[in-house]
Subunit: 349 residues, 2 copies
Amino acid sequence: MALLEDTVAAIGVLDEKAMHAARARQAQLTKPPGSLGRLEEISIQIAGVQGRARPDVSRKAIFVMAGDHGVVAEGVSGFPQDVTCQMLANFAAGGAAINVLARHLGARVIVVDVGAAGDVPASASVIVKKVSRGTRNMAVGPAMTAEEARRSIEAGIEVFADTRPLDLAGAGDMGIGNTTAAAAIIAACTGRPVAEVTGRGTGIDDARLAHKVSVIERALAVNCPDPADALDVLARVGGAEIGAIAGVLLAAAAHRVPVMVDGVISSAGALVAAGLAPRAVPFMIAGHLSVEPGHRAALAHLGLVPVLDLDMRLGEGTGGAIAMHVVEAAVRTLNEMATFSDAGVSGAL
Amino acid sequence: MALLEDTVAAIGVLDEKAMHAARARQAQLTKPPGSLGRLEEISIQIAGVQGRARPDVSRKAIFVMAGDHGVVAEGVSGFPQDVTCQMLANFAAGGAAINVLARHLGARVIVVDVGAAGDVPASASVIVKKVSRGTRNMAVGPAMTAEEARRSIEAGIEVFADTRPLDLAGAGDMGIGNTTAAAAIIAACTGRPVAEVTGRGTGIDDARLAHKVSVIERALAVNCPDPADALDVLARVGGAEIGAIAGVLLAAAAHRVPVMVDGVISSAGALVAAGLAPRAVPFMIAGHLSVEPGHRAALAHLGLVPVLDLDMRLGEGTGGAIAMHVVEAAVRTLNEMATFSDAGVSGAL
């Protein structure tokens, strides 16, 4: 079989025995039952993902996938396409938000050029796995071939495998124009109207937002992506970095590594991953709720509840990175708190 | 003047110049303007609190204030009163949730017995500043004298002063029965109906919740606290640990240290602090939104927007502690990200 199919086939289910043990321990810790709320749920999920009653999230990495989008020719973004490569250099130099947040967290940042239009200097610590030099303009035809779409997913799977061992992973994006592709994927996969799932991206005004909606509607009408075929959706209206994110999410599930989904782009990647392997979803944690309206629709479709809601809309994996602190807090309280009997504390009357 | 009045008099206003400089820097960092959302706002607030365009939150401490409540005689809690002292010993031994979260954060935990009914073993690392051995039953008369209430606030101010220098502080609580006192303070200060601001605390059932509401209504009718006099409210229907939390919040503002408000008990302390010194509020950050219904009412009254919403209801300062990671992320992105010109990244078209 091919790498994609092998990876999908390797995805199992959450370990019920480990989850049961974690749940039982939560009930014995010195706090009113349930009082750590979402932290308790996350700790139990991570136990199930890792198959360990006492999980560990020490080794962390955030995968930042970069690609360009031919649809920028339609004037959908407020930033020039050069910014994708300039930001790749910024990631390599450690100056972007995700670098700062990863340092704060003690996580590695793995930057991958899956489809930038230009080149980053060879000295830069960027992994180059180019599927193409930017996608084609989806407003006039398919953004990628089926083969390019598959290769973008497999790029994510390969990079994940090369980065292991890992205990907690995150996926993020960089790509001028990619909120346009993400909105198209979300509209195609969820069936929601384009206007409902399309946002301002880097900050476009009302007139350009209306234009962006019409461009996405045209792309969907021209390409007719098949919502039952996630690879088809990715190829026709997606992007290479979105495919690579889907690859990271699938690989994480296959290797039983909990994985943070970031904002609207990453959630489009999660829709692609879920379309290929619905069993991957319980291995995911939605880091935050983005300001981008399509994000809420994508998470609802996936059945994921975001950990944070901080009015962010940056991408790069930043929302997932900040939520990793909450995941660490969840795992550490599960592992390190005293039980009622350890501490000699009375239980409920 | 007395310590309380001196502290209130020392509270200034946020430094507009530092905030302006932080805001200007945010606009130059390599990200779409505003895309870090709440993180940008928090970084600017902290700049204003500390009076530094590049703030620092390295030295962190969380103050856990403990006290008992005579109103437990009415059967308002699901846990026995002994748990307050047992948990003090657990804090001292490092086994409680707040200990784990503080270790994760690199923060000190300062535990203060302001009014526990029993005694913790002298070996335990708990600061003893007892105002009383538990308050009196507010359902039949004032919980504290005016002098006890004042001393409880001053205990918080003293402990804060003894713990400095600090760059970021948090306040939390321990005390069986204290959601009853907190709900009474919140009802008195906000004018909301008792039933609307009273919750299940450690997890009581419907029948006991209805009883708890009637006990609080009786306490307010018997004591008639004056909402215009925060010290009077604290004395009549409050608790020593709530006063001590108010003291920490006031001292933090006076010393220009940003301070995290935790859940419903800490927010009752924040209402007392705000009643004594409205200028203290801009120095506060609401860490999270608790499940306790009074919390939302208290934060709305204070005009504070919680950073996290994780369905927590533990107290101890735990919600504030987790939110400190977000505050650190906010400050580090402000300080450490590259600007567009540093990184050679193009701005918006």
